[in-house]
């Protein structure tokens, strides 16, 4: 191929002129590559000095050759770098240094310390509040049912009507009990019912009747879900009671029914009168009635009776910040609880009275008859 192409290529050029230029180019190339012999080199250098036009030609040539070698070097460097780049594990590197794709994550990265501080403050504030209000001291059993939780929430927002005996100026004999409530007899042979929260965490429990006689008792059954506890008087000094004058009402009471209670908000029995104000308790709690009746700490565990002397419930609390909203566990749940007590485990049979000897009596006489069956529960 060369001959033909060369011909068309060079045809227009002055061959003679070209001849010397070709020679020169080759000479310069040889010079730049250091291929000249020593004598040639000296001649070349001399001519450069003598002939500025010659020198310019060399500089021009050199300039172009430099550009070419720069170009070549850059290509070479780039290809070498590409080889290195291929050998890198870019994916792993990327994972190491990559920004998180989501703006949320970037924000999280930026503000996570602030978030952590805010969260800790919130956590401390919440747990501090809960701790100081005694939330954690109320033990929550593991088998929490919805019902039980509702009751727990009641307990939280209610003043449990336990009387702090030590806070009271004590009259008469020194009473070393720490907390107290009320309880009433379930049967004549020494079974007494009260609220679970009255005896919760008790080391020992005593019951004291209206004459001031105290008897040791033990817890034989507790039902935290209904806030109920059944005690048995174990004291040898205890003599069986007369037949109970009241019975337990098996059906629900109507709203508006007049009711009364007897309790120990102080060291003497106190009578209180009111009416059933709602068929459900706090926050729709179906286990309790809402009762409009004056009750105070210490009334917990007291019986709620209707006009005919039926026990319709047991006082267990009142709503804070609300006037006249006390709560009483319905008698049907007391009966349920008693039924749930395994009879075999009892020393003596627990037989509930079915006869009611209070109906038709005046309230004064009812109170007198009830008096011996209502106890102050003292907890140590």
């Amino acid at each position: 191929m060369p001959a033909a192409t060369e011909k068309t290529f060079f045809s227009v050029l002055n061959k003679k002129m070209m001849k010397s230029d070709i020679e020169l180019t080759n000479q310069i190339d040889a010079y730049l590559r250091g291929e000249l012999t020593e004598s040639e080199l000296i001649d070349f250098e001399n001519q450069r000095i003598k002939d500025p036009a010659f020198d310019i030609k060399i500089v021009e040539h050199q300039n172009l050759v430099n550009h070419l070698s720069d170009y070549a070097n850059r290509l070479k460097l780039t290809s070498e770098m590409n080889v290195i780049h291929e050998s890198l594990d870019i994916f792993a590197l990327k994972n190491e240094v990559a920004p998180d794709a989501h703006i949320v994550k970037r924000l999280w990265k930026k503000y996570r310390i602030n978030t952590a501080i805010a969260a800790s403050v919130a956590l401390i504030a919440v747990s501090g509040t809960l701790l100081s209000t005694g939330f954690f001291s109320k033990s929550i059993s593991t088998n929490v049912s919805l019902l039980r939780r509702e009751i727990n929430s009641i307990k939280k927002s209610q003043n449990a009507l336990i009387k702090n005996i030590n806070d009271k100026p004590s009259k008469g004999p020194v009473n070393p009990g720490q907390f107290g409530g009320t309880g009433f007899a379930l049967s004549s042979n020494g079974y007494v019912v009260t609220n679970y929260h009255v005896v919760q965490g008790a080391d020992s429990v005593y019951v004291q009747n209206s004459n001031g006689e105290a008897f040791k008792a033990k817890m034989i059954y507790i039902d935290p879900a209904y806030d109920l506890a059944v005690l048995q008087i174990t004291d040898p000094a205890f003599k069986d009671l007369d037949l109970l004058p009241y019975s337990f009402k098996k059906s629900a009471s109507d709203v508006g029914e007049d009711v009364f209670t007897i309790g120990f908000p102080r060291d003497d029995q106190v009578y209180g009168k009111g009416y059933v104000s709602s068929k459900n308790g706090y926050a729709g709690d179906t286990v309790a009635y809402q009762v409009s009746i004056p009750v105070n700490p210490g009334n917990s565990g007291g019986p709620l009776l209707d006009n005919r002397g039926n026990v319709i419930g047991i006082i267990n609390g009142k709503q804070t910040m609300v006037d006249g909203a006390a709560f009483a566990i319905k008698s049907t749940y007391i009966l349920k609880s008693i039924e749930a007590i395994p009879q075999d485990s009892l020393d003596e049979k627990l037989i509930l009275t079915k006869r009611n000897t209070l109906s038709g009596l005046s309230r004064k006489d009812q109170f007198k008859k009830l008096e011996p069956f209502i106890y102050m529960v003292k907890v140590y």
Partner: protein, 188 residues
């Protein structure tokens, strides 16, 4: 990629010497050592790994040119120099694409490198001109020029490769090609 290479940061003077000697190993270590931070910078500032590769390779070219031109003074850490060049290149590129970012996330200290980049831009322009000129040169001129001036092959080798009967023909051809290239290169 060997772990030990990754963890051992070569001394700056070692790299400079390696660049002057065209050491492939030094280029490799330079790449492995400093590419990650550039990747991190570009990825965290609206770029992808290909952008990082381009920018980083350009910065290495800047470094090589600077070192080889003989006026390289190490007045900062090499890492700082590379990072600064890349940072500048990348921000310029973002700007050119009108993709500005408000908060630049930085991963190293940096120094002003405007002078170096100006020089680089000039070189870059020349590179592109040369690329264009060579592409317009046509065959067999392009290959002859590349073989002789870029790969430093002897005229003898070129004669054999192209089947010229004597080296005078080859020399004439080379002369003509160079003239053409000169014209193309300096014209544009």
């Amino acid at each position: 990629m060997k772990k030990e290479v990754k963890s051992s940061v070569p001394a700056d003077s070692e790299i400079i010497l390696g660049i002057l000697n065209d050491s492939k190993e030094i280029l490799n270590r330079l790449y492995v050592t400093y590419f990650p931070v550039i990747l991190q910078f570009v990825l965290n500032n609206n770029g992808n790994e290909d952008d990082a590769k381009d920018v980083f390779q350009e910065s290495v070219i800047v470094l090589y040119n600077k070192v080889k031109s003989g006026n390289f003074e190490l007045n900062s850490k090499l890492k700082t120099f590379i990072y600064s060049v890349c940072r500048r290149l990348w921000l310029k590129r973002l700007n050119a694409q009108s993709r500005t970012i408000r908060n630049i996330e930085d991963y190293s200290e940096f120094i002003p490198v405007e002078d170096d980049l100006e020089r680089h831009e000039e070189k870059d322009r020349q590179f592109e001109v040369m690329e264009l000129a060579l592409s317009q040169l046509g065959e067999p001129c392009k290959t002859i020029i590349e073989d002789y001036y870029m790969q430093n092959k002897s005229m003898q080798e070129i004669c054999e490769k192209f089947g010229y009967t004597n080296s005078d023909n080859a020399k004439t051809q080379k002369y003509k090609c160079l003239q053409r290239l000169k014209k193309l290169f300096f014209q544009s």
